[in-house]
């Protein structure tokens, strides 16, 4: 049994300690934001925050999470009251199919917590582990910039103006 915090709630999870967090989130807890994309740590669509850092939940065993704090995109806000990063993504309409976007939001959230005024290069480097096949990248970057401004940080060298 593993005890951890998920979106601010303490949870005890029974089961195989090797089971990656992604399956526990989706199958046990019905938290569907994190998506299965590859199960190999290559695409980032399963990204969540663990202790504030971006982590691919498909390769994060429950055993690694005892006592740690998991935050999924559900924990950042809801459709009715979205969190700042979610709101920025909505404002920029930064999604096509949207499948990769929760992972992008988690990664952006982690970036802005660590670096509220990221440079353009830092932003692209931070987002690099996450893949998007629809080509929504430009909007995702706009949304990250917008969120940086909205969250009181800012942008250092806007390659594109915040629209």
């Amino acid at each position: 049994m593993i005890e951890l915090t998920i979106n601010g709630t303490r949870r005890r999870i029974e089961g195989d300690p090797a089971e990656p967090l992604l399956y526990v989130l989706r199958d046990n807890l019905r938290l569907h934001a994190a998506k299965f994309g590859c199960g190999l740590g290559q695409c980032g669509s399963c990204t969540v925050l663990v202790d504030g850092k971006p982590v691919q939940s498909c390769i994060t065993p429950m055993a690694a999470l005892a006592g740690r704090e998991v935050m999924t995109v559900e924990g950042l806000g809801s459709a009715n009251s979205p969190g700042s990063v979610q709101q920025a993504f909505i404002d920029e309409q930064a999604a096509q199919c949207g499948y990769c976007i929760p992972g992008m939001i988690a990664r952006a959230e982690a970036l802005l917590r660590a670096d509220p005024r990221p440079s353009e290069a830092a932003m692209r480097a931070a987002m690099r582990p996450s893949l998007c096949r629809c080509g929504t990248h430009m909007r995702i970057l706009r949304a990250v910039r917008r969120a940086a401004v909205a969250m009181g940080g800012g942008i250092v060298d806007p390659a594109e103006p915040v629209s």
């Binding site: 979205p82 990248h137 430009m138």
Partner: protein, 748 residues
Amino acid sequence: MSGIARRDVLGGGGLVVLFALAGTGIAQEGGTSGGGEGTGAPPEVAPGLPGSLAEFPHLDAWIRIAPDGAATVFTGKAELGQGIGTALLQIAADELDLPLERVKLITADTGRTPDEGITSGSQSLQNSGTAIANAAANVRYLLAERAARLFGVAVDTLSTVNGFVRARDGRQASYGELAASLSLHVEARPDVRRKRVAARDHIGRDRPRRDIPPKLTGAAAYVHDMTMPGMLHARVIRGPAEGTRLTAPDFDAIARLPGIERVVRVGDFAAMLGPREWPLVQAMLAVGRMPWTRSEAPLPQGDLRDMIRALSTEPDVILMRDTVTLPSVRRVTARYDRPYLMHGAIGPSCAVALWQDGELTVWTHSQGVYPLRNALAELLDLPPERIRCIHREGAGCYGHNGADDVATDAALAARAVPGRPVKLMWTREQEHGWEPLGPAMVTELSAGVDANGRIAEWTHAVWSNTHSTRPSQAGDLLAGLEVGRGFAPSPPRAIPQPNGGGDRNAIPLYTLPRATITSMFVPQMPVRVSALRGLGAHMNVFAIESMIDELAAVAKSDPVEFRLRHLEDPRAIEVIRTLADRFGWARPKRERWRGQGFGFARYKNSGAYCAVAIEVRIEPETGATTVLRADAAVDAGETVSPDGLRNQIEGGIVQSISWTAHEEVRFDAARRTAFDWSSYPILRFDAVPLQMAVHVVDRPGQPFLGAGEASQGPAAAAFANAIARATGQRLRSMPLTAERVRLALAAR
């Protein structure tokens, strides 16, 4: 008062007057459903009606009004992430004169919506949007007619506002009450006019996409997210890639693994089922250890493009023109080609199926629920009426990927456990290993310019396999070939012009006095391929627009000026001028290793006009390309959602750069060697353009033109042309990787 401001005034819940019937029919023709990729679309029963109304003329197939006056709109098209869910609502709400929140959309569902074939070919707005717009105009008119009778006044004295029909004397009736005594099971009339452009509330305005907030906050938005009571998870058991099979699968060993409830086998088809996913994920390792072999003839070594070029063809001359002109003084002859490409959905294919009381329901992200149903009916020996295929979103698919195959896998698995829903998802390596690929293609062009710097002659031949193996029968489905019932795939066929498959967009829009354009259809298919976004347009536009630049160079002309010199279509000219202007084409920053490139096409020669300009900087030591800017201008006819259109064009450019610069499926003798994102890398954030802008040329009142695939070709060409300009080296073989640029520079 400007047009926009006027629309704003009227948009604020103002009255919209009704017009007497128009004397003429409605512009916008119906089209081949799905850009020709579909099979056996339903017959046109009312050819005078626009869009898909021609096949389904009854209004209640498209629109129903509830007693509370809210409307439900039905489309046979699917939301694939292209945003049509919201765009179609905008159209319906506008033409019905209802607030957006009071309209709801039902998408592709064989139990509820019209059969609009495949959602492909950038035709959703063209076909379904047009049908819905006109059906809605009809409904609004019928409601008004009903009110006219009620009030005893002439219909053209009435107006509508926000779900009410209002008379001049102030009397009004709600849509709900009017609809209660009105049958919408009537055929649409071709003479009902749509709203005046100026009176439209939603069309042409940005309305936030309805699907975005739930997708961004974790609502169960995708078929992958479905859960149902008693649901079992499943994985399919196959060899590692298309063309392989397991030689000695030990299913009993699998069945004994913890968490595996059962192994379903039908002939060589096998799937494992269990209540939770994790044990299945682990059991897949055991499957991976099973020996396998290639089941087809070994793949030839070397570049498969050369094999496609060498196989026997069924040539079809799609354009032959021979006007007497000046002779060419300079000629350019070149081969351009592209490798096999992957759709590469970020989420692997997935479906949920439920077999109950001898009926099957499948929730699928297939682009064609009706064709899938037909194929499943044959495979499962069920009458089609006993199968219902319901579209649920998946990750973006960009064409025919594993969606239909996985739906079949799920259906076969579900048949073994009646009453229990089964969710079957492919693994990442199955997606990479088994999805039908985008075909490799070869084009050979030869063209000449005359002494006046005009194109005098042009030949273009394109070698390609089919661009659609979308299922129409059981043998078109992977599992159909595994069940051991002798099903065979449909024979490969070329998609005829004007849509074209391999020859899509092979006919340039430019004025060519002498031209021969030939589709070299290659029936033999060394690897399974099917529709990938844009079909042949990506390759053909790349080739044509590269050649145009090569000709401009020998004619010593500016590439944009050279294009304009050969165009007559005013909309093409405007799109090119708009982009050249906004991009600052005429004032490039002159710097070593920096260059700008242009690309243009009208998708399918009947869809949206799109021009793309790209500026790159090259690092000569490594060949690495930085895309400094990528801008586009697009004319998609009447724009329903400008931001949605920009989103599609932006995405198309980024995806096209990924295809054109980075991607190639490689093979060994046994199979494709791409099995994950490390073996098939796609563009990442560090390589996307630094800046991008899309300029929309709106044409209110004009027919909608599909734009979902419009930027792939022009972006590919603009990229190649920019590299040529920056380096002086012309690369004609995709992918235009850093290493190829470096080698070209080193070989100078």
